[in-house]
């Protein structure tokens, strides 16, 4: 039964991080949140498109930080990545698909 643990996929590889590392990630996420709020307060001066673009990038970075480091998805077994990323992509499809269908351009909905 020696092959038991090894077939298909290597065992869970945990990157063990130090406590300091988590504090740093936490700090970065806090800073991102602060920046988000800051640009929200000045959104009228920077224009709507730029505001949206910055906001999306920041939120994606924030979410990715939580998933990769707090949830340890980075460096964890591949199956966990698969089981999360596939539905995430489906969710993006769902959201964009529905928003497109209900937009004024394609829409039935208007």
């Amino acid at each position: 039964m020696a092959e038991h643990a090894t077939h298909d996929q290597h065992a869970e590889a945990h990157e063990s991080h130090s406590t300091r590392f988590y504090w740093m990630i936490g700090a970065i996420l806090a800073v991102i949140t602060a920046v988000e709020v800051a640009i929200f307060l000045v959104k009228d001066t920077i224009g709507h498109e730029l505001f949206l673009a910055i906001l999306f990038i920041l939120s994606i970075a924030k979410g990715a930080g939580v998933v990769m480091y707090f949830m340890h998805l980075r460096g964890d077994a591949r199956i966990f990545q698969l089981v999360f990323i596939v539905p995430f992509l489906l969710a993006v499809t769902l959201c964009l698909g529905f928003l497109t269908i209900f937009s004024h351009h394609v829409g039935i909905a208007g």
Binding site: M1, E3, H4, V83, L94, G97, F98, V106, I108
Partner: protein
């Protein structure tokens, strides 16, 4: 594999368990095989209920201007018929057979989470019973199985029927998600050594794919029905255009789930067919990876075709074109499977057992349904056919001709493993032909009346529209079909009592479930087997044909019987299985009672007393759930080597 060969002798399962029925070992069971059987039996009972509803509708439609049923009752019947057949029959029947067979096929002792498994079956039953309770409490749901808004708003469906529908299906939905998570973990993580992903039986593959479809598709349905519940109970107006809501949003949310749902209904059955055809063709499946990966492909594509159910809404040319094209693309992986099945039989040493006949029946009827599906995927054609009997014909060719014929194939194939007795082949073949013929008598004319414009979901029609003769024929066909189901029931009951005793391996099959006694002991395997190919049992029996790339056997079926010796079964006492527990059942009972209360929390039926009673039900439900959670924790503590007090 430590299996001892012995003479073909067996304790008859009927005499072995004589005496009173061991209720406790069933109601508190966590054994995947017992749970599977509870699923199968209850799904079959719902099959009969759905069938009775269908017959009532067909009597009403047999002649024009008939007054056998009122319009209102007719609406309840078609809603409950479809809801039953889809959510309470085909889905749980698939789950039941999967529950029984999948752990055996991959060499596991049970599902990954046995208590969660028990929770699923009882939640499913709670949901089903709640749905049927509505017949007694003022009217069953009547808005159709896809519950189009705004018909389902309180103004238009004032009885509590739709609330029963939402909460009943909510409970079965939780059951489905919990069950699917269990299947995913079991299949991925409980395989025996050597049973790599690309050696898994195709039935296991399809169960894995379907489980993923379930956990990704059900949430939108859950959200949609929660919103509908808020509309009905708290005046939220999500789907009520008069107040700013959007009826079409319901359609999108529903069909984003609804189309994947039809694959939830068919893919496990395709998996069964992929097991049965090779065994009775004496050849390995043709193009294993194609069959497996086309299943995965169907799973993905199934999520981007949902709006082909909505061409009638008028989504505009862009959306129509996209969903039409995507729907036609999905026919490709489906076609791949069909060609693989045919190629498996091709030049094989085909044995026409009843199971094989049903499998072939599945392929032929499914082709017809697939073709009508492709015609419907074309918007100009669909605009002619949508909401007519042509759609009814399509869905019955894929769901009855497909799923249900395939399930009969599975029933004949695995019945000996589950019960230790074979079903009678002669009666089975008679029943097969009767069912095939009467199925086509019933449903083929629906293509014709559909193209002639007969709308679906009408409770009666005028004479002289050119539909009279066909409708009468369909009704006659229904009775023949019902008769063939009665023959099957007779076959099951008489075979259970005095059917031919099954060896462990009556079909000379290739997968692991046939290495065990029929039925297998609670712990399944004495020793977890080590697997070296896709066909472990054929390897053992026909060493010259072993290996992944080799042909299967073409000799006569093997008559050897594998039986655990007394000594070995004695040794099996050390195998530790989780203990009986009532907690899952109490949990689901609590949720069901609370759901019942929730239905009436905002209903003006008897004024205050109703609301007080409803609140009482909710509280009782919460208490039951709390008791169950406590019991659950204590049970898991008892079974854990780390948490019990003795360690």
């Amino acid at each position: 594999m430590a299996i001892a060969e012995q003479k073909l002798t067996s304790v008859s399962p009927a005499t072995a368990s004589s005496g009173s029925f061991p209720w406790r070992t069933w109601l508190a069971t966590v054994d995947h095989k017992k749970i599977g059987i509870i699923y199968i039996v209850s799904a079959f009972v719902f099959f009969l209920l759905g069938g009775i509803e269908a017959m009532l509708m067909r009597v009403q439609l047999g002649t024009p201007n008939n007054t056998f049923l009122s319009a209102d009752v007719y609406n309840q019947l078609f809603t409950m018929h479809a809801t039953t057949m889809i959510f309470l029959m085909v889905m749980p029947m698939n789950v039941g057979i999967g529950n029984y067979v999948v752990p055996l096929m991959i060499g596991a002792r049970d599902m990954a989470f046995p208590r969660l498994n028990a929770l699923s079956i009882w939640l499913f039953l709670g949901g089903g019973l709640l749905l049927y309770l509505s017949f007694l409490t003022g009217g069953a749901p009547n808005g159709g199985w896809f519950a189009y808004a705004p018909l389902t708003q309180v103004q238009y469906s004032p009885t509590a029927g739709m609330d029963y529908w939402i909460l009943g299906l909510g409970l079965t939905g939780i059951a489905s998600i919990a069950g699917a998570l269990n299947f995913i973990v079991t299949v991925l993580n409980m395989r025996a050594p050597g049973m790599s992903i690309n050696r898994m039986p195709l039935f296991v593959w399809m169960n894995l794919v379907v489980s993923f479809i379930i956990i990704f598709a059900f949430p939108t349905f859950t959200v949609g029905s929660i919103q509908l519940l808020f509309d009905r109970q708290f005046g939220a107006a999500f789907f009520n255009p008069a107040q700013g809501g959007d009826a079409v949003l319901w359609q999108h949310l529903f069909w984003f789930f609804g189309h994947p749902e039809v694959y939830i209904l068919i893919l496990p059955v395709m998996g069964m067919i992929s097991e049965i055809l090779p065994v009775f063709s004496r050849k390995p499946i043709f193009g294993y990876s194609f069959v497996a990966f086309s299943g995965v492909g169907i799973g993905f594509l199934g999520f981007i075709v949902w709006a082909h159910h909505m061409f009638g809404v008028g989504m505009g040319p862009m959306a129509n074109a996209f969903f039409a094209a995507a729907s036609m693309v999905i026919a490709i992986p489906t076609g791949v499977k069909i060609f693989n099945w045919i190629a498996t039989m091709w030049a094989g040493d085909v044995r026409l057992t009843t199971a094989m006949l049903y499998a072939i029946g599945f392929i032929s009827m499914f082709i017809i349904g697939g073709i009508s599906g492709i015609t419907l995927a074309s918007p100009p054609i669909d605009l002619q056919q949508t909401d007519t009997y042509y759609v009814v014909a399509h869905l019955h060719y894929v769901l009855f001709g497909g799923s249900i014929l395939g399930l009969f194939a599975g029933a004949f194939y695995w019945f000996p493993k589950m019960t230790g007795r074979l079903l009678n082949e002669r009666i089975g073949k008679i029943q097969f032909w009767l069912m095939m013929i009467s199925f086509n008598i019933t449903f083929f004319p629906m293509h014709i009346v559909g193209t002639e414009g007969m709308p679906r979901r009408i409770y009666t029609y005028e004479a002289g529209m050119g539909w009279d003769m066909w409708n009468l024929i369909e009704t006659i066909g229904t009775f023949l079909l019902a008769f063939s189901v009665l023959i099957f029931i007779y076959n099951v009951l008489s075979s259970l009592r005095n059917g031919e005793v099954a060896s462990n391996d009556p079909w000379d099959a290739a997968t692991l479930e046939w290495t065990m006694p029929s039925p297998p002991p609670s712990y399944n395997f004495l020793h977890i087997p080590v697997v070296n190919s896709r066909r472990p049992l054929w390897d053992a029996k026909y060493p010259h044909a072993a290996g992944d790339d080799h042909h299967g056997p073409s000799s006569a079926p093997s008559q050897v019987r594998y039986e655990y010796t007394d000594e070995e079964t004695e040794g099996a006492k050390d195998i530790h299985m989780p203990s009986l527990t009532f907690s899952p059942m109490i949990f689901s009972g609590g949720l069901t009672v609370a759901s019942l209360g929730f239905i009436y929390i905002n209903k003006d039926i008897l004024g205050l007393p109703t609301r007080v009673a409803a609140l009482g039900f909710i509280l009782i439900g919460i208490v039951m759930v709390s008791i169950a959670i406590r019991g659950w924790i204590l049970d898991s503590r008892k079974d854990s080597p780390y948490l019990s007090q003795h360690h």
